[in-house]
Point group: C2
């Protein structure tokens, strides 16, 4: 029996492909995609902190910067971000500045995620948050990565 | 009577020069400098969110990325960041990831600063924070900028 993917799951699959690309490059496997109101992909990216030797090169930062470049403007008001792992504080702040309207998260990050570190939501006041989309796949990528690192 | 500048004030002057450059370009006047343990300037930058049309292009992000490029490594463990205005959540997160050891802040930002948004410090556990260095100058640049914008 084939299971039809919801719209959220379809885009999370693309974020997961980015995360897999990160893993293949030895980067922490997190991927992100920014989708416009018409469903087009405006920006995508994965973690590049090792390759760029830059702690700011998280997947969400890449995707947000790419989407702004695509649009030619810095605000992503009616856009949705898909990210495989709960954003950290830095990325949550960037998501807030970008005015992203909807944030769809794969798997939570109870230790490094923004929820543990903020007393109020860093996102835009009108933004909605969707959690748990393809959470098992998102988490599995992370677990496999860190398991292989510990070996 | 000349007043000798402390080390913190000397570097904050450089951050202020960056902030003034931002103001001259119509950017929010915030500047940042990363200084190595030997006192050398490893990275400096100012707000470029308008020119780059990128919400992530804050002064601190520019300075951190520049310093990592100078060092050829992503961690700034024994370095100090001078920034004219209290960092936002995004920059505070980036400062944490970078392992910056000391954060020297000019003027607070009670509305947009990280202190209002976080329940615990986003900085590295071993980092120290110094506040109020050349605060009047740092604040004056911001006030002049926004005053001119309201006219």
């Amino acid at each position: 029996m084939s299971i039809a993917l919801t719209t959220h799951e379809r885009y999370m699959r693309i974020a997961l492909a980015e995360a897999a690309a990160a893993a293949a490059e030895g980067e922490v496997p997190i991927g992100a995609v920014v989708v416009g109101p018409d469903g087009s992909i405006l920006g995508r990216g994965h973690n590049l902190t090792e390759r760029l030797a830059d702690v700011t090169a998280h997947a969400e930062m890449q995707a947000i910067t790419a989407a702004a470049a695509t649009l030619g403007g810095k605000y992503l008001d009616d856009c949705t971000l898909y990210v495989t792992v709960e954003p950290c504080l830095m990325c949550a702040g960037a998501i807030g500045w970008s005015h992203l309207k909807c944030i769809v998260i794969g798997t939570p990050d109870p230790k490094g995620g923004y929820l543990a570190a903020t007393s109020r939501s860093p996102f835009h006041p009108r933004a909605t948050v969707v959690e748990g989309v393809l959470a098992d796949d998102c988490r599995a990528l992370m677990q496999a990565f860190f398991r292989s690192r510990r070996r």
